[in-house]
Amino acid sequence: MIERRSRLARVVQVEIPVLAIVLFALAPYAWMVITSFKPNEEIAQWPVAYWPSEGTLQHYRDLLARTTFAGNLLNSFIVAVGAVTVGLLVSVPAAYAFSRFRFRGRRFLMVQFLVVNMFPIVLIIIPLFVLMRALGLLDTFLGVIAGHSTFAIPFSIWMMTSYMNAIPPELDEAAIMDGASRLQTIRLVILPIVMPGIVTTGIYIFVTSWNEYLFAMMLSGQNVRTVTVALQLFIGEFTVQWGLLTAGGTLVAIPVTILFLLVQRRLVGGLTAGAVKS
């Protein structure tokens, strides 16, 4: 706002409240990371020791050496890359159609892609399990990726359409005038310009797929189990070993936090367009 607050007023009315909110946002995360470096005796200590007297990497070593966690990380990575690939491959052409053509059913179809994105997950997940079982796709990468494409495709269609709408149609027309075919125009004009949009959309699909839990739990078994499912199973398997769990949580959370911070600014436009699930 326009008027200037005095320095003291700014500290009291703005900076201290902001600090409180930031602490609220970060505290649970920080507590998880701190716990993961504590030796077991201190984790079980009461009253709680807030800072480890001696940091240890033991939980991380145990996690990677004695559990399936490393394999689960790889599975999550494969599934997420698969979801990004499927999502982008089918939605970039679709977004091009929505952005560059005015055809019968355009509005109807766009709205449908929005509506399916809002369906409750339970509406889709129950029959998808039955379907995958009938097709023999339970516990395969293809099955989990198919599950994740239920949210990856509608989201990326909406994001990519808005990115393509931002490119002036005059650019396409100029290319056509110069004798380029439609596919050449797409390859040489459109794709290079929307590349940042494609990267943002791809990263967001990656993060969402990496974080996803319900589809992964329903559709995967031992062979393709992802990290989120594995972490949840640790709770039952070991009589809640908080050191292992928090170490695993930290390893899973840090890469996506970084990726998410990278793209979030460019997502804001898509947020209110309803495309971004959160």
Partner: protein, 300 residues
């Protein structure tokens, strides 16, 4: 001959957009449309997974059963309370955060980035970290409240029917308030400075500027965000599933969670499908309002 060629070319040109759409439509039909139709079919049958050969058609039997199912009504009630509290507090906290982050101070950029961290995290980890903090024996929340003298003995937050629901709600508020902060902040940045200058010339106080300038300017953004958030929160079940699994008893059952548990643990896919359909039907009203707002901008 030439007219034939042009007719062919024209119809090909007409088909072009559909050709570009084809892959997306085929995949979406396979992973969404077919399952939804199957849900409708299952809801009319007594479909239990371990009895795949014997799936009798029972008409609206599943829906009748729901009407007499006490757990359905408990879950439905929880769902309404859940949406109201989670969305309400996420919004208030997000609005407050956005207004503060719109002020200028030297570390504003960092604060704006850090505040969205909860949003980036997987729900399993959110459930995990909060379960750990709520721990009865060595949880940091009991420890802090004891030190502050707010409670006299440790509380089993997630095991007690009176507190479990609200404990999960707090975790969800934490997860979702950054969404509102980011969206509202983006809206605040579009308000022209002239409006504030004019209000100041008219002698408006800071509070009056908030009520008469800021809030009306971002009311559209807020309405869209509230609708969207209501839909996501109504559908969300993963954090509850991780933290309490719906318990103790039915204390943290919501409608989507009940549908999921019926299918996943109970193997009663027919009944689970019927519950999912009822949830969808209830949500359709909100989805309809939301989609109409967005579609208005599509007509261009």
């Amino acid at each position: 001959m030439t007219s034939l060629v042009t007719a062919g070319a024209r119809s090909r040109a007409l088909m072009t957009p559909y050709a570009f759409l084809l892959p997306a439509l085929v995949v979406t039909a396979a992973v969404i449309l077919v399952p939804v139709l199957q849900t409708a079919w299952m809801s009319l049958h007594d479909f239990v997974l371990f009895r795949p050969k014997d799936v009798p058609f029972i008409g609206f039997g599943n829906f009748q059963r729901m009407w007499n199912d006490e757990v359905f009504w408990i879950s439905l009630g929880h769902s309404f309370l859940w949406i109201a509290l989670v969305v309400g507090f996420q919004f208030l906290l997000g609005l407050g955060a956005a207004l503060l982050l719109n002020e200028s101070f030297w570390w504003r950029g960092i604060a704006r980035s850090l505040i969205i961290v909860p949003w980036a995290l997987p729900s399993v980890i959110i459930g995990l970290m909060w379960t750990w903090m709520y721990d009865f024996n060595v949880g940091v929340i009991n420890d802090g409240l004891l030190r502050l003298g707010l409670i006299s003995e440790p509380v089993a937050w997630l095991a007690h029917p009176d507190t479990a629901f609200y404990a999960v709600i707090l975790a969800l508020i934490w997860q979702g308030f950054p969404f509102f902060a980011v969206v509202v902040l983006a809206g605040l940045q579009t308000i022209p400075a002239e409006l504030y200058e004019a209000a100041e010339i008219d002698g408006a106080s800071r509070f009056q500027k908030l009520v008469y300038v800021t809030l009306p300017s971002i009311s559209e953004v807020i309405a869209t965000a509230l609708l969207l958030r209501t839909i996501w929160v109504a559908n969300s079940l993963d954090v509850i599933l991780v933290m309490t699994g719906g318990g103790p008893g039915y204390a943290t059952h919501t409608l989507p969670l009940y549908a999921f548990l019926k299918a996943y643990s109970g193997m009663e896919f027919g009944y689970g499908a019927a519950l999912a359909l009822v949830l969808t039907a209830l949500l359709l009203v909100v989805v309809f309002i939301y989609v109409r707002r967005v579609a208005r901008e599509l007509s261009r």
